[in-house]
Amino acid sequence: MKKLAVAAAALVFAATSAQADIKIGSVLSITGPASFLGDPEKKTLEMYVAEMNASGGINGQQIKLFIYDDGGDASKARTFATRLVEEDKVDAVLGGSITGTSLAMVPIYSDASIPFIALAGAAEIVFPVRKWVFKTPHTEPMSCGKIFEDLKKRKITNIGMISGTDGWGKAMRTECLKMAPQFGITVVKDEIYGAGDSDMTPQLTNIKNTAGVQAVINCGFGQGPAIVTRNYRQLAIGVPLYQSHGVSSKSYIKLAGDASEGVRLPAAATLVAEKLPDSDPLKKVALAYKTRYEKQTGEPVSTFGGHMYDALMILTQAMKRAKSADKAKVRDEIEKTKGFVGTGGMVNMSATDHLGLDLTSFRMLEIKGGDWTLVN
């Protein structure tokens, strides 16, 4: 089915190649350790662009994609970014799956004055504001803030932290440590594990033996949090465990198994699309994306492909408003995005905010019976 759609899209390309195409570039981590981000992003991009092209394209122009795989390597991402600018001469760029690759590409697109919407987590990408750079995913200060809000509701003030040395884990650990005092929260034990480690019981034993720990936050992504969760239950640590939205895919629950029961995490609404109240404006978008993605790929949805969906919609809507793919006009229109409802939440961008999401776009989830549930 997917192949048919792509073939159809290719035919349409051939038929309309006389008219100039809109060229959208994308450098994603389709293989390598971050492939669980890049892979759904690539599938989402191809799926929706094929659909847009089949229904006439944007402003009557077809979209032509240039997708490269950086394998999670920042220097490769930089090379491909140069290629997108100099050889492919793209009109806009989506992606950079992870913080490292996205930051490496920022100077290249900025120098070439090309609108760039990143799909990586770190707030650093858009704060302080860079003229040509935008992003769609929630940031690590948002994750910390959402967790701390929940802790306050549960009247918890003393926490332990265990963080991975991957880029995301490091960035989130720094933010959480910085923000904790503002919420009246004390980090009484702060532990680290390597991104490829297979046993975290020594660190967790130390957290368990620290007096006064009322909850534990695990900053990290990939398989690390799954192992932390298993070791956490192995040691029978009784206090609540929080994860970040870095684990918001079904594979985390599958890997951690029964140990994930009761774990809380802040995440985008996509994961609980069916369970949102009908009054929630996010429900329609999230459910449509989820159904579409799961039908086409046969894989359970993660929030990561949703970031690509949001980025593509923000870009193409800006192109429609600008009535062209002119780089400067499109950039201005992206910045004017207001009230856009994506899978990540309501986006209101401005000259000082190139992310446009606030904490209300986040949902606090709890894992129950092997599935995500909403915490009220």
Partner: protein, 290 residues
């Protein structure tokens, strides 16, 4: 005390996995002077095959058997298609060939299986046992016992069978072994089969603990290589001691000193050991006569 036991078991479990990989390095190195950088991929292929076979509905024992067969087949193919045709080449060339083979195997796994992390159900459930206040998973004990059995079996194979003795003879002196009528080329082939077998069993034992994905072999090979160097490249006892020591260093480093520097602590100790004993803990001194 409970703390100490918890750290010790964590270190021994991880260390036993490193030890199995280090053993695989050692066997092939002994027979051919080649460091087989696809050793970690044997562990990965076995784990992934078992995961996907089990997911396809094959009962776990059969899936495990299939995983072993597939992995050993990879070992044979690696030897037949990549190492054997280049048999006149220098060890460095052959090492580069094994790096190429490891990249190929990762690529094949990414295409044939997928790129996500997977796990196998533990053999004896996941209710931790309480030993002296430390919570230990049954699977950790299985890994330790399994490693013990493999090491014993390997010792018996090397010292009690003709083929094993031929391997030892080849390791000691290839030219002399050939002169007394040992087919050293076949010995190298057997070393690949045995290494793949050890890797396969290691993968089955470790996957419920370490999880697996198509790229996990690189990391495991790196740790296993460090363990083999620490113990002394070429010594099976050294490989086991090196693996366990590396695991314990990491666990105690993280537990008692600082989790921030746990890898640094382990590598500083390795550097110190190699500085004082360049052949590793159990390595033979290589003497060149002129």
């Amino acid at each position: 005390m409970a703390e100490f036991l918890q750290f010790a078991f964590s270190g021994l479990t991880v260390g036993a996995i490193y030890a199995l990989i280090a053993l695989g390095f050692t066997l092939i190195y002994n027979a051919s002077d080649v460091i087989n950088f696809a050793q970690g991929e044997f562990v990965m292929v076995s784990g992934m095959t078992a995961v996907f076979a089990a997911a396809a509905g094959i009962p776990l024992p059969l899936a495990a058997l299939l995983a072993i067969v597939v992995t050993v087949l990879f070992g044979i193919l690696l030897h037949r298609l990549a190492i054997e045709p280049a048999r006149g080449a220098s060890p460095v060339t052959l090492i580069i060939i094994t790096i190429g083979a490891s990249i190929l195997m990762r690529g094949l796994a990414a295409v044939f299986f997928d790129k996500n992390f997977h796990s196998l159900p533990p053999l004896a459930g996941d209710t931790p046992l309480n030993l002296g206040g430390a919570a230990i998973l049954p699977q950790s004990i299985i890994v330790l016992i399994g490693t013990g059995i493999i090491v014993t079996a390997l010792w018996l194979f090397l010292n009690r069978t003709l083929m094993g003795k031929a391997m030892l003879a080849t390791a000691a002196n290839r030219l002399a072994a050939r002169l007394v009528g040992i087919d050293t080329s076949a010995v190298i082939g057997i070393s690949f089969v045995v290494s793949a077998l050890i890797g396969a069993i290691g993968g089955l034992l470790a996957t419920p603990i370490t999880l697996t994905n198509y790229a996990i072999g690189t990391l495991l090979a790196l740790k296993g290589f460090a363990a083999a160097m620490l113990g002394g490249m070429g010594s099976p006892i050294g490989a086991v001691a090196g693996g366990l020591l590396l695991g314990l260093l990491e666990a105690f480093g993280a537990g008692y000193l600082s989790s921030q520097y746990k890898d640094a602590i382990a590598f500083i100790v390795i550097l110190a050991v190699l500085f004082a004993m360049p052949q590793g803990l159990f390595g033979r001194a290589s003497i060149e006569r002129v």
